[in-house]
């Protein structure tokens, strides 16, 4: 008899949908069917039970090939690398639970390491903006129940968060929004005619890299000032029209994405978006939200803030104090400046997602990858330690893009005796303590 598990959380994007129904095999080892998930989420569940999963740690040999080793040996090697390095970097956490992040935090503190997460190359700019200017936000249910104007600025949920528009923003019927899509105005601001732009009522095709000027124009208009006839490729009347809709909203939300964080000015594009949201609150109710990428990439920011006081780029090399300054203590900067001498890549794929020169710099030193799957990072590592797939083979707490905690469940047993991230890091910690005793 196959078994149906309801209320399952999806370990893909920051929308962290928790209404997935998964049918698993009788023995609880194989995913048979997935309902309610998007195309990508579907793939995640099925991939966990594909044949050919790596179930044992692998160590790179002098000839460049991998050899399988025991967990015990892998844990010992990882512990020694962390203890011996002058400045190890532990980076990733896009795809793990808070329990794993917490365990890794303890290891990093013990190792005198720099602890960083994928936000470093993703929504890190949002953190910098929040540090400087705050974050007037809300939970996604507020948007669903109240919002009548939605702005997608430099974000493309149609591709990056496939169910975002249907679950939270454009289409759902909420308490005060019984008309669903019919009762909402959608504004999309993007240099490309994206699939999200196609469902919007208004698309402002901003000149790439000039969002800051456009925000500045919106703010100037909201403060009653005049603006030039054309700003960032957008005619004045289009700006006035959009600003008018935003001012008249009962409840509005700006969902912004990588287009702001990855282009010139980085944090200040978000910073001024926050200022604009604050301005709009002089007229009506407005909120803003970062379209966080992974299902639990908000997690490390939350967990490490309560443990270390900072969400990312946490330099613990001083051991008695923590220092954070992205631009200095951020992974790509550390790599490019040759400031670190060991690299642990966990729950992400720095091999595929860092600019290649950063990968080459990090490769000068020991590189450990902790990940359930074969990925670019695992294929260039010195040591690959496979772990259980979070959200499929183990549960735990994850934080959705609006920082709402969702308690994920496991749906199948971990493949062939694989450890969870938490178990692995706890064992590395214990081994480091033993090495301390021996020294």
């Amino acid at each position: 008899m196959a078994k149906v598990i309801t209320g399952v959380g999806c370990p893909y994007c920051g929308a962290s949908c928790d209404d997935i129904e998964v049918t698993v095999s009788d023995d609880g080892t194989k995913v048979l069917e997935v309902k309610n998930a998007c195309a990508i989420g579907n793939q995640v569940f099925h991939h966990a039970s594909t044949p050919g999963r790596i179930t044992s740690p692998r160590l790179r040999q002098p000839d460049g090939t991998y050899k399988e080793i025991s967990y015990e040996e892998a844990i010992d090697r990882a512990a020694r690398i962390l203890v011996n390095a002058k400045k190890p970097l532990i980076y990733g956490f896009g795809s793990t639970n808070c329990e794993g992040m917490s365990a890794a935090g303890r290891v990093a503190e013990k190792a005198g390491a720099v602890l960083d997460n994928c936000a470093s190359i993703c929504h890190g700019s949002s953190f910098l903006a929040i540090f400087d200017n705050g974050y007037p936000s809300c939970t996604l249910g507020e948007v669903k129940n109240r919002a009548d104007v939605i702005v997608y600025w430099a974000s493309n949920p149609a591709h990056a968060h496939p169910r975002h528009m249907s679950r939270y923003s454009i289409f759902p019927r909420g308490f005060f929004t019984g008309k669903g899509h019919m009762g909402r105005k959608i504004i999309c601001i993007d240099p490309r005619v994206t699939d999200t732009a196609r469902v919007a009522d208004i698309h402002l095709q901003v000149q790439q890299g000039h969002d800051y000027e456009l925000f500045n124009a919106f703010r100037t208009v909201l403060h009653g000032g005049d603006i030039p006839d054309m700003v960032a490729g957008i005619p004045k009347e289009k700006i006035l029209e959009a600003a008018g809709i935003m001012k008249k909203a009962r409840f509005g939300t700006v969902f912004y994405g990588m287009g702001l964080c990855h282009s010139d000015g980085r944090n200040h594009n978000v910073d001024i978006a926050i200022s604009m949201t604050r301005d709009l609150n002089e007229f009506t109710k407005w909120t803003i939200m970062a379209m966080r990428g992974h299902y639990n990439i908000a997690g490390p920011g939350v967990v490490w803030s309560w443990q270390f006081g900072f969400p990312y780029c946490i330099d613990m090399t001083k051991r008695d104090l923590v220092h954070m300054n992205p631009g200095e203590t951020s992974s790509v900067d550390l790599a490019m400046r040759d400031e670190v001498d060991a690299f642990v890549n966990i729950g992400t794929d720095a091999g595929a997602h860092f600019p290649i020169p950063a990968v080459q710099h990090l490769k000068k030193h020991p590189w450990i990858t902790i990940d359930p799957n074969i990925c670019m990072a695992s294929e260039i590592s010195d040591l690959h330690i496979p772990v259980a797939v979070v959200g499929v083979e183990t549960g735990g707490v994850v934080y959705r893009m609006d920082n709402v905690p969702i308690q994920f469940k496991k749906v199948v047993e971990p493949a062939g005796g694989i450890l969870t991230d938490e178990e692995l890091f706890d064992k590395i910690y214990e081994r480091m303590c033993e090495l301390d005793q021996e020294a």
């Binding site: 400087d132 000027e213 703010r219 700003v231 200022s275 301005d279 090399t317």
Partner: protein
């Protein structure tokens, strides 16, 4: 004034953090004591003497102490951090946070420096003959109290975020600046002798910015008022006077709204 000379003898494998290299820390100490001051390379603490040849003599007070740094200090951070008096001369390049949180005295770097130099400076003088990196004279992350006093002069170019959250003091860049000058500024004066790509004075509440060269992308929130004659850093010229950021809040003083001023050389 007495001089202590530090000459790099063992370059760090990674990077060296030397927040103890200040006249304040050196004053009144013997060379041996100075050599025992702690520096960091990653998580390893070591005495200063492991990396530098130390010669000369320290003064009794910080004001009476001059430090000269020779050899390759391109990977040495935090020189002169929080210094209150005295002098530091760096003969070549230096890394991040040079003169960070500085309160007095003088630092002269003959080469280039990296990012975050002169961070949240309160007083004193930082002179860089070469280029400076990003976030020159900016605030620490999250702090609304950026540079509050003192003078920073860079003869070369700077990157982005010059003078972010500046509240006071003066920054003069003799070359070009990239983007974001005086963002969130609420006081102080910034002079760019060369060109700026854009985003000058964004979210600025008050304070003054002078640009001698060209601003490629002017912010829509700045409004032209009139041409004015000004003498800036020894140069007399006509400037187009703009006020802004009209998208930002502005205080009132004696019934008048106070704006930030942007002067662009005509």
């Amino acid at each position: 004034m007495k001089t202590v000379t530090l000459t790099m003898k063992n370059k760090p494998e990674l990077i060296l953090e030397c927040n103890n290299v200040t006249p304040d820390a050196f004053a009144g100490k013997s060379l041996a004591d100075i050599g025992r001051l702690e520096v960091y390379e990653g998580k390893f603490r070591a005495p200063l003497a492991d990396y530098f040849e130390i010669a000369g003599e320290a003064g009794e007070t910080a004001a009476d102490t001059r430090i000269v740094m020779k050899g390759d200090c391109k990977r040495v951070k935090r020189i002169g951090q929080k210094m209150t008096a005295g002098e530091i001369e760096i003969e070549g390049d230096a890394d991040m946070y040079i003169g960070g949180w500085m309160e007095g005295g003088r630092i002269h770097v003959k080469g280039n420096v990296d990012a975050f130099c002169g961070m949240a400076m309160k007083g004193g003088e930082l002179l860089v003959d070469g280029d400076a990196g990003n976030y020159l004279g900016a605030a620490y992350r999250g702090d609304w109290r950026g540079m509050q006093g003192g003078l920073i002069r860079v003869k070369g170019n700077t990157g982005n975020d010059t003078a972010t959250f500046i509240n006071g003091g003066t920054i003069i860049v003799e070359g070009n600046a990239f983007i974001h000058v005086s963002t969130h500024g609420e006081g102080g004066t910034v002079v760019i002798k060369g060109d700026v790509e854009g985003r000058v004075g964004g979210q600025m509440v008050k304070g003054d910015v002078y640009v001698f060269g060209n601003i490629q992308y002017m912010l829509p929130g700045f409004k032209y008022m009139e041409d004015v004659e000004k003498e800036i850093d020894g140069t007399k010229a006509t400037f187009a006077h703009y006020i802004g950021d009209l998208g930002e809040r502005h205080p009132t003083s004696r019934g008048q709204t106070v704006y930030a001023n942007l002067y662009v050389k005509a």
